[in-house]
Amino acid sequence: MLGLLTHYPLLTALTALLCLGMVFGALLGFASVKFRTEGNPLAEQINTLLPQTQCGQCGHPGCRPYAQSIADGGAINKCPPGGQETIDALANLLDIESQPLDAEHGVEKESRVAFIREDECIGCTKCIQACPVDAILGAAKLMHTVIADECTGCDLCVEPCPVDCIDMVVRKAGIAHWSWPMPASPEHTNIIATDKEAA
């Protein structure tokens, strides 16, 4: 055997390659069993970037299905609650060109929460069934109320309410939520007032 190998150098190379192939093949086979990923990791990554409002404005029943559709090559600009920032983050993740928000699905608004005018609530439980995150408390024929901290502002409870007693109010109102605005960038400052029209 050894004599044969020394006699035919080509055979040595072939045997070596064959052995290497077998070893690495076994390794790969083992790895594919041992480190198997369940589900689509890309959809999961996309899902973490989405705002989890679960509002369905994108046309999908929740953020996870939308993430799945993006992973399958769908448009990334259908999420109004996430706004431009989310689109940019998605474009960055998928390494594609960012796009403006598709106005067909809605416009970017500040974060809101549902507020039930409790005197007018008749206790029909329709909003409770509509809420995607179980943020409404109540029982049949008893007053309902929204857990403001858990509400995502998805608007889904407004439509089913038979007495229209749900308002959407701005979440971050008042001085406690005020933050410093970003200054206008120097390139956009017009020192001479009449420069405004030019450029």
Binding site: Q54, V133, I175, W178, W180, M182, P183
Partner: protein, 516 residues
């Protein structure tokens, strides 16, 4: 301990401290109305416990502190509560906030105040409860509730208390004046704080541009019976912003507070001299925090000085006392020229954090010229007292690159404004950092909220599916039992039996027909 260290960067703006004649205090008297915001500190706003129409006495608590980080509000004089409503407050946003309005009855009747007879024999928690009850929050400018800050003793062993008499910001002389007129009270307050914290050493840090304050503090220390051991007044060269907490610690001890850490991690706690006096008044006399020293200065006022002001006094009242003649496009600044903010109206009240009201003329403090492009000169990096790279932070803030901003330690920025001050392009750098900081905090908040909603959505999804499966299972069960029943009863089914009988009869008939 005698050696004084130096910090990176820093600037030397014109001091303008003599303008307000440090060392002299004028009583600001009683205005027509006191406006007491419920949020004069960092943390949760206080909750009112009085209602409109109530008559209150001086020192009476008007609003309770809420939760761990909060401070109570007390009546600075006797009078009637006329309203609890939204009023403009000193805040960079210029927005309104909930305030209790009190109309003084000019009798200035006070509750009988009860202090602790001998705090040294009391447990630290009792003394802290006293400080919390007095509604004290830091008087230096940030307004962190003092009782909460003193809880640092539970986190780590405190060995040094620093009284921060630096007052490095131009124009302001409130602490300087306090050190001159109330040095004994500062020392007494510091000793109480050191007792609570278990600190062996008390350092009084004072910049060398305040010789009168240094002298007064040294005399007060010599006169004190000094039961606690080491106390020392340390003087160091004037430089802005030596008065930053972390900067002062480095100057006095040579140690740097770790990034993202607290002074308590080094066994150090810093307090403002005004806070020390307020603590002394609360513990010894039982007096809540209802007044403070305010520097009213600038060349648009004729009687620049330090005023003893009751909290809630409208700034308009103070300005009238100081002989204010507004110029065209007059700016009013709450705080100093470096870290203060412009006020939109003089109707806002003096609050616990108001150390200065600055009314400069146009020539004195002109509005900043329009910002120009960054030329990457690097002066900002030389001036930064936190050894950051302001220029890089500027680019990243504009690009909203949060990852890089955090990598470049944006949150170690103390917003002192030294970088903006040296910038030859007049870029409002600090404003970029402030905006970027709040944006990052907001994003973190949203992320957390999204994570929670995701969990709740998935839990609901699972529940809905489980319920659907349950219903499906029950339906199948019902169907199966029905079928079983049908199969079992097939034998004695009357219809089937009748059909069978008819069939049999027909067959029989056919057979008889065949046979016949």
């Amino acid at each position: 301990m005698n050696s004084v260290h130096t910090i990176h960067g820093g600037i030397h703006p014109r001091e303008e401290k003599q303008l307000s004649r440090p060392g002299q205090v004028i009583d600001a008297g009683l205005p027509h109305e006191l406006i007491l915001p419920l949020s004069q500190h960092i943390g949760a706003p206080a909750e009112p416990i009085v209602s409109v129409g109530d008559h209150v006495k001086g020192g009476q608590r008007l609003a309770e502190d809420q939760g761990a980080v909060s401070a109570a509000v007390h009546a600075p004089t006797s009078g009637h509560i006329t309203a609890i409503d939204m009023q403009p407050v000193p805040h960079p946003s210029g927005l309104t906030n909930v305030c209790i309005r009190l109309t003084p009855d000019h009798a200035d009747e006070w509750l009988v105040l009860q202090g602790l007879a001998d705090y040294r024999s009391e447990a630290p928690d009792t003394v802290i409860a006293h400080i919390r009850a007095a509604g004290i929050s830091g008087l230096g400018g940030a307004g962190f509730p003092t009782a909460t800050k003193l809880l640092a003793r539970e986190r780590s062993a405190i060995h040094t208390l620093i009284i921060n008499g630096t007052e490095c910001e131009p124009y302001i002389t409130a602490d300087d004046t306090l050190m001159q007129v109330a040095a004994e009270q500062i020392v007494a307050g510091a000793e109480i704080l050191a007792h609570i914290l278990g600190a062996e050493t008390i350092l009084y840090g004072v910049e060398d541009n305040k010789p009168a304050a240094l002298k007064a503090m040294r005399e007060a220390l010599a006169a004190s019976d000094d039961a606690l051991g080491q106390q020392q007044v340390v003087s160091f060269p004037t430089k802005y912003p030596s008065g930053g907490e972390k900067q002062l610690i480095e100057i006095l001890t040579g140690e740097q507070v770790p990034s993202g850490g607290l002074p308590a991690d080094l066994g150090i706690v810093c307090q403002n001299p005004g806070t020390a006096v307020a603590v002394r008044d609360a513990v010894i006399d039982g007096k809540p925090l209802t007044d403070r020293l305010v520097t009213v200065t600038g060349r648009a006022v004729s009687h620049a000085s330090n005023y003893r002001v009751r909290l809630g006094t409208p700034i308009a009242h103070l300005l009238a006392l100081a002989g204010f003649t507004p110029g065209s496009r007059q700016r009013l600044i709450h705080g100093g020229p470096m870290m203060g903010f412009a006020l939109e109206t003089d109707a806002v009240p003096v609050v616990k954090t108001t150390n200065c009201v600055l009314a400069p003329t146009q020539e004195e403090l002109p509005a900043p010229p329009p910002a120009q492009a960054c030329i990457r000169c690097g002066l900002c990096a030389e001036a930064c007292p936190a050894s950051l790279l302001p220029q890089q932070l500027y680019w990243y803030a504009r690009a909203k690159d949060q990852e890089q901003l955090e990598k470049h330690h944006l949150f170690d920025c103390i917003e002192c404004g030294a970088c903006s001050w040296v910038c030859p392009s007049s870029i409002p750098l600090v404003q970029y950092y402030r905006a970027a900081k709040s944006h990052i905090v907001e994003t973190r908040d949203d992320k957390q909220r999204a994570e929670r909603s995701k969990g709740r959505f998935e839990a609901r999804q699972e529940r809905v599916e489980r319920e659907a499966a349950e219903r499906e299972r029950k339906r199948a069960e019902r169907k199966a039992t029905a079928q079983q029943k049908a199969a079992a009863s097939e034998a004695d089914d009357p219809v089937q039996a009748a059909i069978a009988r008819t069939k049999a009869r027909k067959e029989q008939a056919a057979q008889t027909k065949d046979a016949s």
